[in-house]
Subunit: 179 residues, 2 copies
DNA sequence: CCCAAATGATCAAACGTTTGATGAAAAAGA
DNA sequence: TCTTTTTCATCAAACGTTTGATCATTTGGG
């Protein structure tokens, strides 16, 4: 255990995890240091991946990752109700509603009221949306590949397994989900 | 390999990963499915943890996770230059600038110009900020603990190791970082 | 010493997200 | 059938973030 007590001005995004965990452990006897380290590391790793993908793939093309997620879902699964889109792309109905304004304005998808239920909304890719998604996905996947190469194939599978187990455990943890 | 081709309306946040990977694999021979699965899973797991922590710990107290990260850094490492705070809490200087408006308005920290360099900003917790952070951190850490229990101790260590290796590999991947 | 380049911070516009409220349509109950 | 409840979508206000521009200060080169 490296007793890293670096002065504040030498701390970096990376070294802060160790610094914080050790310092918290020392000053707060009741802290769950391992849980702290896990969540801290999980967030930092994801934050780096997200920032990279967003700034190298999506923003240069005038897109955002959330917008990409919606278009990607429609591309793979076909036209669907907005409620389903929100569910599978991991956003609230209100967030999707706002996001749709942008995507519709940019001519990437259309929203129309469903025939069987006039409250519901049916989303479909436009020709333009359909034409654009493949290229963006390819660039996105190339970037994902570069990240994935940091791990051995076996390690990638293990990482996925552990993350899935973590998600499965959210039920026991009585985690709060998006409504 | 479960050939899950569920109709769109039965898809969920969870099942979409499998569905998307299989469908992409089938329709796009050149796709790197393992990389896709890894990034998709990483983001969904983190998104769930973030939403839970944010909505059960921070927002009910009138805080946000980003604000908490800043106050937490100042609490652990003491007063420091804003540039350092941005670096170790993982945000751009511009984002921190905006965030500081809120934190300062709420009386949780103060910003003053540094004496040795009149461009620089020195951040310090106020009494109120210092008094509030411990309780919030305790609640935060309790929630982290609940999540951590989904994994065995050995699995937690392995997850952290894999995530660190992923972060370390970002150099090879020539990932883009925040400036 | 003076001027050009680099650095620290802020601002502005656009965007996605959250919570809580409102409106409209459908479902459930009396 | 009529009323109450539930469901789907949107809106409004507040917030954090991004990119690109601007301003002030400091550093470094002639």
């Amino acid at each position: 255990m490296t007793h890293n007590t670096a002065p504040p001005d030498e701390l970096t995004f990376w070294s802060f995890v160790d610094y914080a965990v050790h310092k918290a452990e020392r000053e707060l006897p009741t802290v769950n240091a391992e849980a702290m380290r896990m969540v801290l590391t999980l967030n930092r790793a994801t934050s780096m991946v997200v920032y990279d993908l967003e700034s190298t793939v999506h923003r240069p093309r005038g897109w955002t990752w959330p917008g990409f997620r919606v278009l990607f879902a429609l591309w793979l699964a076909g036209p669907m109700e907005a409620k389903t889109t929100a569910e599978i792309s991991g956003m609230s109905r209100a967030a999707l509603s706002a996001l749709l304004n942008t995507l519709e304005r940019d001519g990437l998808l259309t929203r129309e009221r469903a025939v069987h239920d006039r409250r519901a909304l049916q989303l479909s890719l436009t020709e333009a949306g359909y034409g654009a998604i493949l290229g963006v996905f390819r660039a996105h996947n190339r970037r994902e590949s570069a990240w994935a190469e940091a791990l051995e194939p076996e390690e990638r599978r293990e990482l996925v397994r552990l993350l899935n187990k973590l998600m499965a455990g959210s039920t026991d943890a009585q985690a709060k989900f998006r409504s």
